[in-house]
């Protein structure tokens, strides 16, 4: 079971939601999870998790090295993405190369987790605006797409934006609207409300802050029930 957390715009809360989902699954539901930080622009989840710098999810394809899996807590692991973020800045990549590497992870994940004693289920944090053709390919492999948006999804920024959102909505298994502040709050199926920023920007503090809110907790529970059901 693989869940991809995607978005069209940056800064909508993909990483935060991925962390909250993984925390709730592993800690509250006792359902171990493997996080993969495939945000090749920033690798923010790796930073929030204080993962050690080293080979991450891209290294098997880049240098032939085994990725160094970071244990976040019992039942929760992370394949970091520092290597991909650095390679994205340093090398003249075609995006299709990174897409193929991520697709290879989807194909190889069952064998990878089984041989290393890791949880078989994965939540993948991604970079914004993954190509629709790529998302379609992953969905054909059974990957669930959780699309995260904020108020821009229901604002009329432009006709182009509306067309783009319509296309991404069509592919999504679940749409989460973050930081809702008006009518969409009660209309969208999954919404996340703003919570006070924790002083310690560590993944667990952020995830706890999100889930402490009763509405957010219900959202995450419902979301996991839909895309990450217990085996």
């Amino acid at each position: 079971m693989i869940v991809l957390v995607t978005s069209l715009d940056g800064g909508v809360g993909k990483t935060t939601l991925a962390a909250a989902m993984a925390y709730h699954a592993a800690v509250d539901r006792g359902q171990p999870a493997l996080l993969i930080d495939a945000d090749w622009e920033k690798a923010e989840l790796s930073q929030l998790a204080r993962a050690e710098h080293g080979p991450g999810w891209l290294s098997p394809f880049l240098t032939g090295e085994e990725p160094r899996v970071h244990k976040m807590r019992d039942g929760l692991y992370l394949v970091p993405g520092y290597d991909a973020a650095e390679a994205y800045q340093l090398y003249d990549f075609q995006i299709s190369e990174l897409e193929k590497a991520l697709e290879a992870w989807v194909e190889g994940l069952p064998a990878f987790t089984a041989s290393r004693g890791l949880p078989p289920a994965a939540i993948i944090d991604t970079t914004p605006t993954l190509r629709l053709c790529f998302l379609t390919r992953l969905k054909e492999r059974g990957v669930k797409d959780v699309f995260v948006a904020d108020v821009r999804a229901v604002s009329r920024v432009s006709d182009i934006k509306a067309e783009q959102y319509a296309a991404y909505f069509k592919l999504a298994d679940a749409v989460v609207v973050n930081h809702t502040s008006f009518f969409a709050r009660d209309a969208a199926p999954y919404t996340i409300r703003r919570v006070p920023t924790p002083k310690d920007l560590h993944w667990e503090a952020v995830a706890k802050a999100i889930i402490r809110n009763r509405h957010n907790r219900k959202t995450v529970e419902a979301l996991l029930h839909k895309v990450y059901p217990a085996p």
């Binding site: 098997p60 394809f61 032939g64 194909e107 006709d159 319509a166």
Partner: protein, 131 residues
């Protein structure tokens, strides 16, 4: 810079399986074929670029979900009003969200929004709505 997809997936799966990543490797072949096919044998004048959706006259907000829209004249984007915006919002939202929104709106408001466009299909829809 190219990534070694086959080697990577063999490392992940722990086996030197020639079938590993075959489907992904097939993409390589497909892309190369497409790339070769797209390169003309002789230089040809470049075709004019297709206008982006921003440049289309009276651009509709939504593509796929409105593929059946009529050819009736539409107000330009700058002339878009509340009715246009409401219809675009409802059409672009996921179906379950749109259902909830429609449930919250007064039927008369929706009818007034639909009346703003002269289209035979919409007229029939309005007749049904007002029945």
């Amino acid at each position: 810079m190219r990534l070694d997809i086959r080697k990577g997936i063999q490392l992940l799966t722990g086996r030197a399986d020639p079938e590993a990543g075959r489907k992904i490797a097939d993409l390589d072949a497909g892309e190369q074929a497409a790339s070769a096919a797209s390169q003309p044998a002789a230089p040809q004048p470049a075709a004019p670029p297709a206008p982006s959706s921003a440049l289309r006259p009276a651009a509709p907000a939504l593509a796929a979900s409105q593929a059946d829209a009529s050819d009736a004249p539409r107000p330009a984007a700058s002339e878009a009003d509340w009715g246009e915006l409401l219809v675009r919002l409802l059409a672009s939202a996921p179906e379950d969200v749109a259902q909830k929104l429609v449930g919250c709106l007064d039927r008369e408001v929706i009818a007034r929004a639909l009346e703003r466009r002269s289209d035979p299909y919409l007229k029939v829809a309005l007749l049904l709505l007002k029945r």
